[in-house]
C-alpha cells in the first residue's frame, strides 16, 4: 500500500466531527470564563 494511502488513513483517523469541534470550542470558552479571561459577556 502506498504512503499516500497510509497518510490518508492516518488523517481520517484524527478527523473530528462538527459535534466534537463544537464541544471543544464550548469547553475552551467555558475554561476562559472560569480562569477570568472574560470577566463579563454583555448581551
Amino acid at each position: 500500500m502506498s504512503a499516500e494511502v497510509e497518510a490518508g488513513k492516518t488523517e481520517s483517523r484524527w478527523k473530528l466531527s462538527l459535534d466534537t469541534w463544537a464541544v471543544l470550542a464550548a469547553f475552551l470558552l467555558a475554561l476562559l470564563v472560569r480562569v477570568g479571561a472574560f470577566k463579563h459577556i454583555p448581551w
Binding site: M1, S2, A22, V23, A26, A30, R34, K39, H40
Partner: protein, 361 residues
C-alpha cells in the same frame, strides 16, 4: 492495488485556507443576527414613541426574517456559503454552553419525563409516517428517511440514515427539503398556537422540543415563546437527538435483512459514531455548574455566550432556507411530511397535556 493508489487524488484544503473561507459567511451571520437584535430594541421603542400599535417582535424572529429575505431575494453569494453553513456549529456550541444554566437534578427530573415522552413520540411518529408513506405510495427508503426526519431530529437524522440504509441522493434531498420547509412553517405557527392555547412555558417548551424536527428550529421556536420555554425545548430536543443512533441502527438492520443495505458489524461502535457528542458536552457543563465549578457571574457569562451562539444560528436558519429550491423537490413528499407534521404536532400536544395532568404541572 493500482486503484488504491489512485484514490487520494482530491487535493486536501489547507486548514488555514479552510478557516479563511469560513470568515465571510460567519461575518454575515453575525451581521444579520446583530441587525435582528438592533431591530428588536429600536423598532419597539420607535413604535412606542410614535404611539403605534406594533407587536413586540423578538430578535430571534427578526434574525430569521432578515435571513429569509436575503436568501429568497438576492440569494446568498457563493463567497458566504461555507461560513453560513457553520450555523450548526454555533448551535451545538450554544447548547453545550447552555448546560451551565441547568442543574443536574433538574436535568434528571425533566430528562426522565421527557425521555418517556420522547420514546412515545418516536414510536408513534415512525409508525404514522410509515403508514402515510405507504398510503401515498412513496418509495420505501424515502418513507424511511421522512419517518426518521420527523420522529428524531430532522436533517442530521436523515443524513445519518441515508448512509446507513444506502438511500438515493434524490430521496435524501426530497426528505431534507420537506423537513426544512416544515421546520420553517413551525417557527411561525407554533408560538401563535402556544399563545392561543395559553400554554405555560413548560408545556410549550416540551411541545416544541417534541414536535419541531430540526434542533435549530426547535431552539428558535422555543426562544420565540420565552427564555424558559427555549431552555426546555433544547433539553427535550437533545433527548430526542440522543436517540438517533438507536433508530438509525434499527433501520440499518432492517434494510440489511432485506438485502438492500450493508450489514452493521460492530453495533456499539455504530451507536457511538451516530451519537450526538454535544449532548455529552451539555451534560458535562451542567455537572460542572451543579458542583459550583463556575460562580454566579461566570454562569451568567456562559449563558450570554450561549445567546450569542444562538444568534448566529437563528440568522443561519433564515439564510439557508430557500423556498424556490424547496419547490423544485416536488409536492408529494412535502404533502406526506406536512400531513405527518400536523398529526405529530397534535399527538405531541396531547402527550404534553397528558403529562401535565399526570405530573400536576
Amino acid at each position: 492495488m493500482a486503484e488504491a493508489i489512485t484514490v487520494p487524488q482530491v487535493r486536501p484544503v489547507q486548514p488555514a485556507l479552510r478557516f479563511l473561507r469560513v470568515i465571510p459567511g460567519v461575518l454575515l451571520l453575525a451581521a444579520v443576527g446583530y441587525a435582528g437584535k438592533l431591530l428588536e430594541q429600536n423598532v419597539g421603542a420607535y413604535a412606542k414613541a410614535h404611539h403605534w400599535t406594533f407587536p413586540n417582535i423578538e430578535y430571534v424572529l427578526w434574525a430569521i426574517i432578515l435571513g429569509l429575505l436575503i436568501s429568497n431575494t438576492v440569494g446568498v453569494p457563493e463567497l458566504f456559503r461555507t461560513g453560513v453553513a457553520t450555523y450548526e456549529f454555533w448551535l451545538k456550541a450554544g447548547i453545550v454552553l447552555l448546560g451551565a444554566r441547568f442543574l443536574l437534578g433538574d436535568i434528571l427530573k425533566l430528562g426522565g419525563v421527557s425521555l418517556i415522552l420522547v420514546a412515545i413520540e418516536i414510536v408513534g411518529s415512525l409508525a404514522f409516517m410509515t403508514f402515510l408513506g405507504r398510503l401515498f405510495k412513496l418509495k420505501p427508503k424515502l418513507t424511511t428517511l421522512l419517518a426518521v426526519g420527523s420522529a428524531v431530529c430532522g436533517v442530521s437524522a436523515i443524513i445519518a440514515t441515508k448512509g446507513a440504509i444506502e438511500a438515493d441522493d434524490e430521496d435524501s434531498s426530497f426528505s431534507i427539503a420537506a423537513i426544512l420547509a416544515l421546520g420553517a412553517l413551525a417557527l411561525f405557527t407554533f408560538p401563535v398556537i402556544g399563545h392561543f392555547l395559553h400554554l405555560s412555558d413548560r408545556a410549550y417548551g416540551l411541545w416544541a422540543g417534541l414536535a419541531v424536527d430540526n434542533t435549530a428550529e426547535a431552539t428558535a421556536a422555543g426562544a420565540l415563546y420565552s427564555d424558559a420555554a427555549a431552555k426546555l425545548a433544547v433539553l427535550v430536543k437533545s433527548t430526542r437527538n440522543a436517540m438517533i443512533g438507536f433508530v438509525v441502527l434499527a433501520y440499518a438492520i432492517y434494510w440489511a435483512s432485506q438485502g438492500q443495505a450493508k450489514a452493521v458489524g460492530n453495533k456499539a461502535a455504530f451507536l457511538w459514531q451516530k451519537f450526538p457528542k454535544f449532548v455529552l458536552g451539555f451534560l458535562l457543563i451542567s455537572v460542572l455548574a451543579t458542583y459550583h465549578f463556575f460562580n454566579k457571574d461566570q454562569v451568567g457569562a456562559l449563558a450570554n455566550l450561549s445567546r450569542w451562539a444562538f444568534l448566529l444560528t437563528f440568522a443561519g436558519v433564515g439564510l439557508r432556507t430557500n423556498f424556490s429550491e424547496m419547490r423544485k423537490q416536488g409536492l408529494r413528499p412535502f404533502a406526506v411530511g406536512a400531513i405527518g407534521e400536523v398529526v405529530i404536532a397534535g399527538f405531541t400536544l396531547a402527550l404534553v397535556y397528558g403529562a401535565g395532568k399526570i405530573f400536576g404541572w
